[in-house]
Symmetry: C2
Subunit: 197 residues, 2 copies
């Protein structure tokens, strides 16, 4: 669970119904086609909400981008926690699987990674991406520590898992192949079942 500073960064603003429609449509378009490839006119047209409303609610396209990542994190995080709770005997793998299934509908890899590659280094939305990645890492550390007390260095193990996951997501975004992602999952199972290094 993210701490309060991270939570402020990761929490999307409260939205009016139309603003929510805009954000939902923008989310799908941003993920599928990329940030720069989608204009506000397109978002407006596809959502059936006026561009004027978009600017009244969000103020700028950059703010829509930021809200997009915040919402994606929040929705995904809740679903992930549900999955973890549903598999109390394999929580680390549940966290892993949450990532895979979340990216599934469009198969464009990790939304946060893709956005990060496209955004200028001083863009406000980068804080959201970093906070999201940090939150995921921390959650992995928590679960490894709690569920695998035989592992000597849970930080190290959690970070290795994060690397495998990030790599697998990135790779699938490029060639749509699950092969490496499954390979990574096997490796995680191996790591967790092994005796301390």
């Amino acid at each position: 669970m993210p701490d309060s500073a991270e939570e402020a960064i990761l929490t999307p603003p409260t939205l009016t119904p139309r603003a929510q429609r805009i954000l939902d449509v923008a989310s799908e378009l941003f993920y599928r086609r990329g940030l720069h490839a989608v204009g506000v006119d397109t978002i407006s047209a596809e959502s059936g909400v006026t561009k004027r409303t978009l600017y009244d609610r969000f103020g700028s396209k950059d703010a829509v981008i930021e809200a997009y990542l915040q919402q994606r994190h929040t929705v995904w995080w809740a679903r992930m926690e549900r999955r973890i709770a549903a598999q109390p005997d394999a929580r680390v793998l549940a966290l892993w699987d949450a990532h895979i299934q979340d990216a599934e509908p469009f198969d464009r890899g990790c939304a946060f990674l893709n956005a990060g590659g496209e955004l200028p280094v001083d863009h406000p939305a980068l804080r959201v991406i970093r906070a999201h990645k940090a939150a995921v890492r921390d959650r992995f550390v928590d679960l490894v520590t709690a569920d695998h007390p035989d592992i000597a260095d849970p930080d190290r193990t959690a970070e290795v898992i994060v690397l495998l996951l990030e790599g697998g997501m990135a790779h699938r975004g490029i060639d749509g192949d699950d092969h490496l992602l499954r390979r990574g999952r096997d490796e995680v199972e191996r790591i967790l079942s092994a005796a301390p290094a």
Copy 2:
């Protein structure tokens, strides 16, 4: 080493001096700011070469993008092979380190990953990206097989290394931190020095 089919995809076209200037400038801009964020006018202005020449040589911006990735692969691959040859007793790690040092000047992570996240799924340059990733994977398989005969499943091991590397590159592109990349390198050393699973 890529096979001949891959080589055709990965080889950049022969270029006139001005065209090479365009490509060099475009490469830096594309990597630093992203593909969509850089226009042909900017490339032309920064390189001091007219836009007319750009279109006479390349035909379209998409072709410049494709050549950008091809050149990046070719330049990087040669440097990588040099590094591998220079460290005959640690070739897998030399291949790993080649990745890290190549991304260094701008710290925007993996150029191929970033480009892949931004390009439409049917863009011709995607073939370059996939061929590059496949070539790297294959080279890792080669080196693990040759230098670590005690490892039972070199394919599996090479793919785990690729995942760790890809993950580390992606992560550094986002927060500019080498921490996870170094963590991944440690893990690779551990994997290579361990007895067969």
